[in-house]
Symmetry: D2
């Protein structure tokens, strides 16, 4: 019985979080996260590899993501793996695997990319100073709301 399904990621946001507000006041944020890895191939060359993860955050965590997370930013994410099934346009069953976040923590990196201006930066820095920088989901509140 007793199962464990835990994911720990440290990586950079591929884009600003996108937040949807569902009926009933529930919010969901989604964004991609890149984790960079490297290994030596048979010739001893260093090969870079980027893995892209689909991150989903619910309710309070979604609002925090919307407020504080930006494209390029480095974050620590703890969550669980969830594979959803859906029908594509040709009515074929497809699967998508996502990480449902339970905890998000902003790391030392500064946001980057074309999104936020320097002005925004300051804004983010100031807000972040006034608030906790680790956000945690209440257990069992990251379930689908239906």
């Amino acid at each position: 019985m007793a199962g464990i399904n835990k994911v720990i990621l440290v990586g950079n946001l591929g884009k600003d979080p996108e937040v949807r507000h569902l009926e009933g006041g529930v919010s969901v944020a989604s964004f991609t996260l890149a984790t960079n890895d490297h290994y030596k191939d048979k010739q001893g060359n260093r090969v870079e590899r980027t893995e892209w993860h689909n991150i989903t955050a619910w309710r309070g965590l979604a609002e925090m993501a919307e407020k504080y997370l930006k494209k390029g930013q480095q974050v620590y994410i703890e969550g669980k793996i969830r594979t959803r099934q859906y029908q594509d346009k040709d009515n074929q069953t497809r699967y998508i695997t996502e990480i449902v976040a339970d905890e998000i923590s902003m790391l030392g990196g500064r946001p980057q990319g074309d999104g936020p201006t320097a002005q925004d930066q300051v804004q983010v820095q100031m807000s972040a100073e006034e608030t906790p920088q680790t956000f945690r989901q209440e257990p069992e509140l990251n379930q689908l709301p239906f």
Copy 2:
């Protein structure tokens, strides 16, 4: 930069591991792992949910999986998330997400199901006594061999 991509699972094998031997003597084991979860819905009812993970183990770990792991067995797995791209029969790009195991540890549960007979059980128990029950992949050896 410095990325972390780590998965920790405790669950039960959905089937016996399937092992392929690639050219160059490299072996790959694959099996599914169920992690069971439960939560309370809005009516307060207990809802069970099973997440199925595709596990891949390379080289030494593959051989260990082949030797010691059976359908139904409870294991601890540590690894990383990897999403592969492939073309389906209609030449459409599809994605499959797998967990590449770095460490597999057999937990207290006894194997079950139609596979192993009582005789096999004893066999497994005996072998297990003579060997470590946690198997670890050498770092960077679980890369695709091509």
Copy 3:
């Protein structure tokens, strides 16, 4: 700033949990957990090593530990490291490091040892069937109550 302090253990209880009830109705359970490890020494001999951890569980988790956990049982524990300072009998400052549990999950192993009788076993099994077998602490409720 944003810190992470996370421990993941799979091991066996060295004794039955001991539960204290503090003023204000707060309960604290404590027990030791053995994690067994092995490595090869320079001569290639297999060396066993047992690490003993001091586990502390608060409130709801303490009550679950009291009810369901027994000496010898195999459990998964997630928590954080906490080092406390105290004065010993000679008024010297000493330190003790504990793991404060956030989640405890019972694994496949059956309890053992002189403690529980077969009767107790059945009792535990039955109760366990009626309840979730993973117990989680609400975030931030595992703080010292003073």
Copy 4:
């Protein structure tokens, strides 16, 4: 059997690593790491709490620590808990709990504090750019060398 003893930390170095070179060419680095946490007390006030961890890194990881890690720097560390016993000056048995690192990854933060000068900083930045920024210990090589 099969035990798991895993620690994951994200925090800041309390001082530059101190490296000792043992007979046989084995090196050991040690430093402290602060993980910052916060919680709300009964009055709803935000309380900061810093946990200090004793980190030990062996061999290759020790050399990496010596080269690249500085006081104040933010790092991700994965390792295991190890409690050592020793006799203090009054011949009393005492215990010290350490984290033996298996993997250290430098995060986005810039070093800080009175230690390194701006000059050193550049040095560190440049070197870091030319090398992998995640360092991993070969399994079982972080054992005590005696």
